[in-house]
């Protein structure tokens, strides 16, 4: 694993350096380069070891794609926050809060499904607003603020679940049209995969093409300068926190409609998965750098390693080891790519 990634990286670079076309050079300067190469390395490796165990079959693909779609729609806005210099770990409590909201509103109180979904999204937006409000009005680091809301929301979810339905778990059967829209299957791919693809397009547009996209980078690059340049720093940050929590709530909605069940247990694994995806995806921990496609590749890589390892001959107990090593390599590689990006001027001059 280690060997593959590092070797392919340096070999490609030296080979391409003298004759490289513009697009290839541009690709290597992009923060997504490391993530993409990691993804290819893992995919090839798993295809080899999983060829006779159906890694490349439809069930193999859908296993990790379905997982990736849920992680991914949360990881991208988490990545936006990291680019803006903030962290959000409260998502692990927002997802169960959202699933329970749908179940309580639409199952227990028999409201229409859209009311349940709207309520869940509103809960997400509210949590995001609280996160953003506290982060922008105080000097408390967002890690601590969202750690606090993580536990607070998890606690409220448990308490209110017992209060309303006297149970920490619940179920919900959506009407057919909602089931096929939010929780259906196409060739084994959950609806969430298609929602995720749509969201990727929206997120790419927002971050890389819309004029406000550069504001996100400016927040993480140099907040003081951003404020001086007239960027509404507080509004932007609160908006990003709300986007993140609302996306997490939407992921919860898709989950409850897909699996017909809701739980109030906080999902701590999700927090790690989103942050690992973002970092493997080439987003700079200190902010100011990153791409949506990088995060997408980070999510896909993580999903393959954790979910599809059962379709290969690799011992599934090794998946955490692989993720740990991958995380380190990703951070090291990203440093190299970042240097390539900033030293471009001198290289071009010579």
């Amino acid at each position: 694993m280690t060997e593959t990634t590092t070797n392919s990286g340096s070999a490609l670079e030296t080979k391409l350096e003298p004759t490289a076309g513009f697009s290839i050079k541009a690709f290597f300067r992009s923060p997504a380069a490391g993530a993409f190469m990691g993804f290819v390395a893992v995919f090839v490796l798993f295809s080899i070891f999983g060829y006779d165990r159906n890694f490349l079959s439809v069930p193999g693909m859908t296993t990790w794609m379905n997982f990736a779609s849920i992680i991914g729609m949360i990881a991208i806005p988490v990545g936006f926050l990291m680019i803006a210099g903030e962290l959000d770990i409260s998502t692990g409590a927002v997802v169960p809060a959202s699933t329970m909201t749908v179940a309580i509103v639409s199952q227990h109180y028999e409201m229409p499904v859209m009311v349940g979904i709207a309520a869940a999204l509103a809960v997400g937006a509210l949590i995001g607003f609280i996160n953003g409000f506290i982060v922008t009005r105080t000097r408390v680091p967002s890690f601590i603020v969202t750690l606090a809301t993580l536990f607070a929301v998890a606690g409220i979810t448990l308490y209110l679940s017992i209060f309303f339905i006297n149970n920490t778990n619940s179920f919900y059967h959506a009407p057919d049209w909602a089931k096929s829209l939010f929780g259906g299957k196409v060739f084994g791919f959950n609806s969430s995969v298609f929602w995720w693809l749509g969201m990727i397009a929206g997120f790419i547009f927002f971050l890389h093409y819309s004029p406000k996209g550069s504001w996100v980078f400016a927040l993480g690059g140099d907040q003081e300068s951003a404020r001086n340049a007239g960027i509404p720093v507080r509004k932007m940050k609160i908006g990003l926190f709300m986007l993140c929590s609302t996306s997490a709530a939407f992921a919860g909605v898709l989950q409850v409609i897909t699996f017909n069940s809701a739980t109030s247990q906080a999902n701590f694994g999700l927090i790690f998965n989103t942050i690992i995806s973002v970092v493997v995806g080439g987003v700079l921990l200190t902010g100011g750098f990153g791409t949506v496609m990088g995060i997408v590749f980070g999510v896909l890589t993580l999903s393959i390693v954790t979910q599809a390892i059962g379709f290969t001959q690799i011992d599934r107990n090794l998946s955490f080891l692989i993720i740990g090593v991958m995380l380190l390599i990703a951070v090291l590689l990203n440093d190299t790519f970042r240097q390539l990006a900033t030293s471009w001027s001198t290289a071009k001059k010579k």
Partner: protein, 274 residues
């Protein structure tokens, strides 16, 4: 003093944070095409003064005037819209962003119609490169390059070019040469001169006397929150200014001496002591 109305003027401005007085009785003015150098050691209150002029803080007492009219900057954005541009030591740029995006940060050109309005990268890059080249930086030819790959002087130039392009009338430069080598600093000083020639009022904050003397028309020395000396080009030597900045204790006495000398010698400053 010139007869033209100063573009920006502070009249008896005080600033205190709770019980702590940071600035007292500051009176300064700067006119179009003029460079005012603010000299002062660390902790003299330079940054607070900058923040007053750029709308981050409001004065506790006293007035800020623009073109002879009293105004209040309610926010940095407000100050900016009135034509006050502040360029900080590290250029106020984002190292991991392209030149084009840096140049238009907060005022992005767009094309297309809502909701598909996109950042017009080509236009942004073209204008950014043109404007920076006007400042004499011909090495920058590609607006897609990341600012992190530019030298400190080039970053300053980019920030100054940006301010000029967006119609700044007052340019506040906060220690633009502090982190630069000799050559780079010389470059920035040339750009300051260029901004001055274009009719901008420049406020140049520094603690390097040589740099100040190279471009300044008017000098003010700040010591412990007060203007300890206020003089024009050629009225003091480099050594005197350095002494002024360093010798906070003997300040009042020294000033009295100089004033006394000037009164008895028909407004002439005393000859250099060394």
């Amino acid at each position: 003093m010139s007869d033209v109305k100063p573009v920006l003027e502070l009249r008896n401005v005080d600033k205190s944070f709770g019980p702590i007085d940071v600035l007292h009785d500051i009176s300064l003015k700067v006119g179009a095409g003029e460079v005012l150098c603010l000299l002062g050691d660390n902790g003299a209150g330079k940054s607070t003064l900058i923040k007053l002029m750029s709308g981050v803080y409001q004065p506790t007492r006293g007035d800020i005037m623009m073109d002879g009219e009293k105004i209040t900057f309610i926010s940095p954005r407000d100050a900016q819209e009135r034509g006050i541009a502040t360029v900080h030591q590290f250029g106020g740029t984002y190292p991991l962003m392209s030149i084009g995006r840096n140049f238009f940060m907060g005022a992005e050109p767009t094309k297309g119609v809502w909701p598909l309005k996109v950042f017009d990268r080509k236009t942004a890059n073209r204008i950014a490169v043109e404007e920076v080249q006007k400042m004499g930086i011909t090495r920058i030819t590609d607006g897609d390059r990341l600012v992190g790959g530019l030298s400190g002087g080039e970053r300053q130039s980019l920030a100054i070019a940006r301010a000029v392009y967006f119609g700044a009338r007052v340019l506040i430069l906060d220690e633009p040469t502090a982190a630069l080598g000799v050559k780079q600093a010389a470059h920035v000083l040339r750009i300051v001169n260029q901004a001055k020639r274009r009719g901008l009022a420049v406020i140049f904050i520094t603690h390097q006397v040589m740099h100040a003397m190279a471009v300044g028309d008017h000098f003010a020395v700040l010591i412990r929150g007060a203007v300890a000396a206020d003089f024009h080009k050629g009225e003091k030597t480099r050594e005197q200014i350095a002494d002024l900045m360093a010798g906070g204790e003997s300040m009042a006495e020294l000033e009295a001496n100089i004033e006394g000398y000037m009164e008895t010698h028909g407004g002439q400053p005393p000859p250099p002591a060394h």
